[in-house]
């Protein structure tokens, strides 16, 4: 039992949890912006996958991983715009378009992977973003060992949460964003451009999800492999719901899911099947939705196309 407790509070597990949470945090923030504007985004998975591929590809071509980060964000942004055009302009069903993007991303990344790198399911190894050590913080006992030495993208994710929170709750843009997602007609009446707000929010959503994918291919690993997001986009979606559509809530959910992820390998050794740990985020989200741990209710106009009239 003592050993088990030691495992639960092991600094290595917490440090790993933070790493596992990072791609989820970016994608979940993306999900929040999109859903807050009233556009359901189940395409986070596909956007992450495209981001992961692009980051690898740009890093491979240029040797500069940070250009990969930019490329991935740009690619995610473009896929976000694609989602936006179909959902907002052509009034297509948002869940259907999201499904199409996920299938498209799965096909496109492997198509390009095989075209450029041959038959194998993985790309060659590319230049990655390396970890950095924070000067003073790394000296603090326990905490230093958890957050003192991490990837820059890990820190960026935490900063992004703070920024997202300020943007959504403390700026007039954020107020308009929430208005558009809750009651587009009213927002329109007072002069908010519903279409433009939604376009920007969904494009931003794509860029953030792409950034999440970046972490997978050029920070956590040094290559892209087929379907490497492995459902993380959907876990991010779960974190959005679990965190009640707020940045800090989603951060908490992502850290918890990351912790579960980090723990599973170690718990397998004591006989807990990994599959049950894998299932946990999804089960908890259903429980949260059902209202057993404080009801999760999303933005009112989420999922409905807005027809000006």
């Amino acid at each position: 039992m003592g050993e088990f407790l030691a495992l639960l509070f092991n600094t290595a597990v917490f440090a790993a949890a933070l790493r596992m949470a990072t791609p989820l945090i970016f994608a979940a923030l993306g999900g929040i912006f999109s859903e807050r504007s009233g556009v359901v985004n189940i395409a986070l998975e596909g956007m992450m996958l495209i981001g992961a591929f692009t980051a690898m590809f740009v890093s491979h071509q240029t040797g500069i991983p940070w250009l990969g980060v930019l490329g991935a964000m740009l690619a995610g942004l473009l896929i976000g715009l694609l989602h936006a055009v179909f959902c907002i302009h052509y009034r297509a069903n948002q869940v259907v378009v999201g499904t199409a993007i996920n299938i498209f991303a799965g096909g496109l990344t492997v198509f390009l992977l095989r075209h450029y790198f041959g038959a194998a399911g993985t790309s060659p190894s590319v230049a990655t973003i390396s970890d950095i050590t924070l000067p003073i913080i790394s000296q603090i006992p326990w905490i230093g060992r958890v957050i003192g030495r991490q990837n820059p993208l890990v820190y960026l994710a935490l900063v992004a949460v703070v920024i997202a929170n300020v943007v959504i709750y403390k700026t007039s843009w954020g107020l308009r964003l929430r208005a558009v997602g809750e009651h587009p007609r009213a927002a329109d009446t007072v002069g908010v451009n519903v279409f433009r707000m939604r376009y920007v929010a969904v494009a931003l959503s794509g860029a953030l999800a792409g950034l999440g994918g970046t972490y997978l291919s050029i920070a956590h690993l040094s290559r892209f492999s087929e379907g490497m997001t492995a459902g993380r986009g959907f876990i991010a979606l779960a974190a959005v719901i679990f965190g009640k559509w707020t940045p800090y809530g989603a951060l908490g959910a992502c850290l918890f899911f990351g912790y579960v992820d980090a723990l599973q390998m170690r718990l397998q050794a004591v006989g807990v099947p990994t599959q049950f740990m894998n299932m946990l985020p999804y089960v908890l989200t259903m429980v949260a939705l059902a209202g057993f741990i404080g009801k999760s209710v999303g933005p009112k106009a989420s999922g409905e196309p807005y027809i000006k009239g």
Binding site: V97, I103, G107, L108, H115, P273, Q275, F276
Partner: protein, 347 residues
């Protein structure tokens, strides 16, 4: 009157047709990108999927599970529900069918096969009923819950097939099903099985239920306008659960067919998006059983032809996945296509 019906039919077919053509045109761009001739590649795609009876049989074999998942999505759609959980229902149904298949031995075929099929239907049906129940009782939108249940089903069957029911080899799969539970192969050496008949029967069943029974009338009424249906004395909650259960059972049959007809054992993660493709098939088939069958055959043909295209040209077979996704985009954006075809929007 007759010309009006004709016009309506034309409108029904025009959008999906335009979507497929647009997707193939953009697909041609991808073929050019990798330096191949689109016409030559498409010719291979066509010949290798429909050019001979043997190829046609493979196409039908690939189309069979898509008919089921397409029907599953279409059926729920008619009741106003979006079942994006066909993938999960498929896995649960598949495992249930496999379990009956490898657990019981010495049963006569006439008992064993139907038993396995029914188990698959019940497995998928129960898994589908969960989000239906949560929607009916607590008002939770089925989309999120079906997505979550997809992953839960994936990991649950993964655990079952590698843990308590592991077949003993190093491969993550169960033991083989008994031959008495297997569907008969129709055209060896292709793997087309009598599952095709089952799919056609399921389509006929879906049509009968939806358009020829009181139950179906209620389901469609709920789908068109739940408030009005409730006001008219229809129990919306009950119909929501029924619709999701039947939809889940249809998806469960897709898994059942894959196990009893194709793999003859449960293999972890065997599906490769058959459930999600069901969304595409249902959309392309206009959520009508007949349309679903044709859409599934088209997708089956694309998949069959892509293997040969991959072998004979430098075009990766994933081109087909891209084309399938593009088809969904264009069918989903009917508004766009109608405008392109200068069709008047229905009032």
């Amino acid at each position: 009157m007759l010309s009006k019906i004709k016009q309506l039919r034309w409108q029904e077919i025009a959008t999906p047709l335009a979507a497929v053509i647009l997707a193939l045109i953009i697909g041609a761009g991808f073929i050019l990108y990798v330096g191949e001739n689109p016409l030559a590649a498409y010719r291979i795609l066509f010949m290798e999927s429909l050019g001979s009876i043997r190829n046609l049989a493979t196409t039908l074999q690939r189309a069979t599970p898509l008919m089921f998942t397409g029907l599953a999505v279409a059926f729920s759609y008619r009741a106003g529900l979006f079942n994006i959980g066909a993938e999960g229902q498929l896995y649960i149904g598949a495992f249930a069918a496999a379990w009956v298949g490898f657990t019981f031995t010495g049963l006569p075929r006439l008992v064993h096969l139907p038993l396995a099929i029914i188990a698959g239907m019940i497995g998928g049906g129960l898994w589908g009923a969960i989000p239906g129940f949560l929607k009916a009782k607590l008002g939770i939108h089925e989309v999120i819950n079906t997505i979550m249940l997809n992953f839960i089903a994936l990991y649950l069957t993964d655990w079952l097939a590698t843990g308590p029911f592991h077949g003993g080899s190093w491969v993550p799969e169960t033991a083989r099903i008994s031959p008495t539970a297997a569907l008969t192969r129709l055209y060896p050496p292709t793997r087309l099985s009598t599952g095709l008949y089952l799919a056609l029967a399921a389509a006929f069943f879906a049509y009968l239920v939806l358009w020829k029974t009181k139950q179906g009338y209620e389901l469609r009424a709920v789908g068109l306008n739940p408030q009005a249906a409730e006001y008219g004395g229809i129990n919306v909650a009950r119909n929501t659960v029924i619709a999701m259960a039947i939809s889940g059972a249809l998806a469960g049959l897709a898994g059942t067919e894959q196990i009893l007809g194709l793999h003859q054992k449960f293999i972890v993660r065997f599906s490769a998006d058959l459930g999600f493709m069901g969304v595409a098939v249902a959309l392309l088939g206009k959520n009508h059983p007949v349309g679903v069958i044709f859409a599934a055959i088209l997708f089956g043909a694309l998949q069959t032809g892509s293997a040969a295209m991959d072998r004979l040209t430098s075009v990766p077979r994933e081109l087909i996945t891209i084309i399938q996704a593009l088809i969904i985009f264009f069918v989903a954006a009917e508004y766009l296509i109608r405008r392109m075809l200068r069709m008047k929007e229905e009032a």
